[in-house]
């Protein structure tokens, strides 16, 4: 690439300069703090090289919160630019970069890792396991995600961000129309993170299938575990498509192939198809675990078993199958035949059937229950009406003939924010608050939490509801500004106000984390809410010991922990301890991923030798791993006794 030395670091934009300075200062502060408190070795040994699913889960969630901040800033910049016609807050190029990174970050580096983090922490506990099937791989998954995320995030400082939208449509994304390193960042960063996601998919699929505790048949699994299992299955079949598509576009941009280009008889439409063959199942990858979280929370705080458990399972399986049969609805306007558009219209509308079934099942889970309005429950309850609005507009979009008018407009933008925010983001908040005592040993403050909830939910509606009307009034997505005579000014201003309310709510939420860390009472038992139904609440201490269960629980029915409590059985009474085998920490995944990051960074700028050195390094770490016969270690009975005794105090 013909890049001048003074173009390597992006300069000349005050916003980016501000970010550069704050990142630099933040980085120095973190390094200084770690050095001053002598925490480097602790960080490396206890966290970064850890294969404990609980610690990895927390690291995923922290990264996701960071990305929610970054993606949120992007979103607020978009809304600021659109607040009034003719704004000059961002120039078109900068605007294009901001909305492209907003999309990628929110989907791939926020929603997915947040949910994967929750799955990491909770699912092994819910199935009564001590770890996942492949703990080493789990650490590698985290690191590949993290390196992909880091690579993607530095793009706006070094070289320039991708600017072809989160969909990276060709031929716009080819070298001729997107020169510069931006799109290379997109391709390589998502590639690395995607490989990590695929490994997570395989890991948890096998974990859930093979490592359930005694008595837990498939139809006795919690709903969150079920949705996770199906999600992993979708990942296994969808992510390879992304891997291939990204590799193909990378070949076009870096190695001179002509697959999606204008020259050489390339076929740009193939990219669009491949992207959405992955992209639509991806939507369900981020929504199914959310459904699982809501199922857990609603059933817990209604104090009732989930209504129509079997129908719920059938629905998620149906949704997962249909998710692979609807991708064309993302481009009804491509001039497809009437037959094709009709087929994909109907399959898309059909998804609303199992989804509708689930909505009613949640409602009837609360029927004849005893509903308490805790913060996680509020998030789950807010999900229902908001998601229904997003869902019904989804059905409207599915009607291809009408979609010609909605496509590429704010109607669509509003629809997918309604489903993704009220589905996924609400679930992330709900799940984090619900399981917070399990992760950190204390609850988040309810009062502050409710403030954050109300401001967020109202802000969300204020932000996105007007956008349906903007779309119907002809406002296309991705425009960086508009004219006063377009008549979109008022609604855009309202929308921007809503966006800032959401931003405020996020700050309150983060403050709550700090406040609760200082002032919340510490939990004394494993069952923090007192209403726990599944095995994650059956641990002796609020934060489970690293081996989770001193003695693995036995399961006889649905909602096993509720069942135990009803029958007066005490999991902790069983002190027939045996030595527990646990996996050892490993530093190769972090190193391997760092090398991947290095190789990819080189390729972004077409410094092929860096790529080759990185690749050689990766192979060496793989060889080292292959010769590593470390089988883990045993936790002695004495140590278990000691830990359990401490927990009961």
């Amino acid at each position: 690439m013909d890049l001048k030395w003074n173009e390597f670091i992006i300069t000349g934009d005050p916003l980016i300069l501000g970010a550069q300075i704050s990142i630099l200062l933040g980085g120095i502060a973190v390094v200084a703090a770690l050095t001053y408190f002598k925490k480097w070795s602790w960080l490396w040994k206890e966290w970064l090289t850890s294969v404990d699913h609980k610690k990895l889960g927390i690291m995923y969630i922290l990264s996701a919160l960071l990305m929610l901040f970054r993606g949120g800033i992007d979103g607020l910049m978009i809304r600021t630019q659109l607040a009034k016609p003719g704004m000059e807050f961002l120039d078109p190029q900068h605007y294009n970069e901001v909305f492209s990174t907003h999309g990628v970050i929110m989907i791939l580096f926020m929603a997915m890792p947040f949910l994967i983090g929750l799955i990491n922490y909770i699912v092994p506990l819910q199935i009564g396991a001590r770890d996942v099937a492949f703990p080493y791989l789990n650490n590698l998954s985290f690191w590949t995600f993290f390196v992909g995320m880091a690579l993607f995030n530095i793009s706006f400082i070094i070289g320039g961000s991708p600017d072809a939208g989160w969909t990276g449509y060709t031929p716009l994304a080819t070298n001729e129309f997107s020169p510069g390193p931006g799109q290379n960042y997109y391709l390589l960063a998502i590639q690395i993170a995607g490989i990590g996601t695929l490994m997570t998919g395989i890991n948890f699929f096998v974990t859930i299938l093979k490592m359930r505790t005694k008595g837990m048949t498939l139809m006795k699994m919690s709903m969150f575990t079920w949705t996770s299992l199906i999600t992993m299955l979708i990942i296994i079949f969808a992510f390879p498509v992304l891997t291939v598509a990204l590799a193909m576009q990378t070949f076009d941009r870096l190695f001179g192939s002509v697959l999606f280009t204008l020259q050489g008889d390339g076929n740009p439409m193939l990219w669009v198809n491949l992207f959405w063959v992955w992209g639509h199942p991806e939507v369900y990858i981020v929504i199914l675990p959310a459904f699982g979280i809501f199922s857990e929370i609603i059933s817990t705080f209604a104090r009732k078993q989930l209504f129509a458990y079997k129908a719920m399972v059938v629905s998620i399986v149906t949704i997962s199958v249909l998710s692979f049969l609807v991708w064309v609805h993302h481009f009804f306007t491509m001039g497809n035949s009437a037959e094709a558009n009709s087929f994909f219209s109907i399959t898309t509308m059909a998804i609303s059937i199992p989804t509708g079934v689930k909505i009613f099942n949640w409602l009837f889970t609360m029927y004849r229950g005893r509903i308490t309005f805790t913060t996680p429950m509020l998030w789950s309850l807010a999900f229902i009406p908001n998601f229904v609005i997003g869902g019904v507009t989804g059905v409207m979009l599915a009607m291809a003939a009408a979609d010609y008018q909605y496509h590429n407009t704010y109607f669509l933008v509003s629809h997918f924010h309604y489903v993704l925010i009220s589905g996924t983001v609400f679930a992330c908040f709900a799940g984090l608050i619900y399981w917070y005592p399990k992760m950190f040993g204390h609850k988040l403050n309810e009062k502050i939490g409710k403030w954050a909830f109300w401001i967020f939910v109202i802000g969300f509606n204020v932000c996105f509801f007007p956008q349906y009307f903007l779309g119907l009034d002809g406002m296309p997505r991705r425009i960086s500004t508009y004219l006063p005579e377009d008549g979109w000014t008022g609604l855009n201003m309202i929308s921007t106000i809503g966006a800032f309310m959401m931003g405020l709510a996020f700050l309150i939420f983060v403050y709550n984390i700090y406040y609760s860390w200082r002032y919340s009472p510490r939990e004394k038992t494993g069952d923090a809410w007192g209403l726990g139904r599944n095995l994650e609440w059956a641990t002796t201490s609020s934060i489970p010991p690293h081996y989770n269960f001193a003695v693995l629980p036995e399961v006889t029915g649905l909602d096993p922990y509720w069942d135990m409590k009803e029958k007066g059985l005490d999991q902790q009474k069983n002190t027939d301890y045996k030595p527990i085998h646990m996996p050892s920490n490993s530093s190769t995944p972090a190193i391997m991923s760092a090398l991947m990051g290095m190789a990819a960074f080189g390729l972004v700028f077409q410094w092929y030798w860096v790529g080759i050195v990185g690749a050689v390094g990766i192979f060496i770490t793989m060889i080292v791993r292959s010769f590593d016969y470390n089988d883990g270690y045993y936790v002695s009975v004495e140590e278990i006794k000691e830990t359990e005794a401490k927990a009961n105090k």
Binding site: A133, F134, G201, I202, A238, P240, G256, S257, T261, G632
Partner: protein, 203 residues
């Protein structure tokens, strides 16, 4: 792994430990993902098959003889790989190593011919940038070839471990998994042979 090492002496060696069983299930799952990966490549190949632009078509380039040799090499290697696992069941380390070495030599021969084919095409002026059709041809076959090459490197590492440690539940499960991988690549090649070469030479 965080599981008890409950050894089941009646099962084949590679299935005896819990870790071995999990690894094998995990690898089958991985092969599921690999099927999705190659399916995507094949689908893309079909989508771009007729897009030859100003470049030559398959029929002008393919040579039946060369492909037959490559196919025979890989098919035979799959067979010898099976023999290696047979020897493993008989607990014969030398047999395993011997058959695996033959497998690797056949695999290396296959890669050699594939490289020769690619170089030959480049000399004829057909490269990655000739047309969408040829871009996809090189990417599909290149992905398969890369898989085979990685397989060769991997199995060499396993043979060193086998020579050092002999047959244990752990080495056995590793060797067994590598054999699954090898057979899988053979199956993929059969599809490449049919869909790319045979169909390419017919129309």
């Amino acid at each position: 792994m965080a599981h008890d090492h409950n050894v089941n002496p009646n099962a084949p060696l590679e299935y005896q430990s819990e870790a071995g069983r999990l690894n094998i299930t995990g690898f089958w799952t991985f092969l599921g993902a690999e099927i999705a990966l190659f399916s995507t490549l094949f689908a893309s190949y079909f989508a771009l098959q007729s897009r030859v632009g100003d470049g030559p078509t398959s029929i002008e380039m393919f040579e039946a003889g060369l492909v037959m040799i490559m196919t025979m090499l890989l098919l035979t290697s799959s067979f010898t790989c099976g023999l290696a696992i047979h020897e493993m069941r008989a607990n014969n380390v030398k047999g395993v190593i011997g058959w695996m070495i033959i497998t690797l030599i056949l695999g290396a021969g296959f890669i050699g011919y594939e490289l020769y084919e690619f170089v030959h095409y480049v000399h004829e002026g057909v490269t990655l940038g000739t047309s969408a059709h040829w871009s996809m041809f090189f990417i599909l076959l290149g992905t398969h070839g890369l898989h085979v090459s990685i397989g060769i490197g991997w199995i060499i590492l396993l043979l060193i471990q086998l020579a050092r440690r002999g047959l244990t539940p752990k080495t056995a499960s590793k060797v067994f998994i590598s054999s699954l991988y090898w057979h899988f690549l053979d199956v993929v090649w059969i599809f490449i042979f049919t869909c790319v070469y045979l169909m390419g030479m017919v129309n």
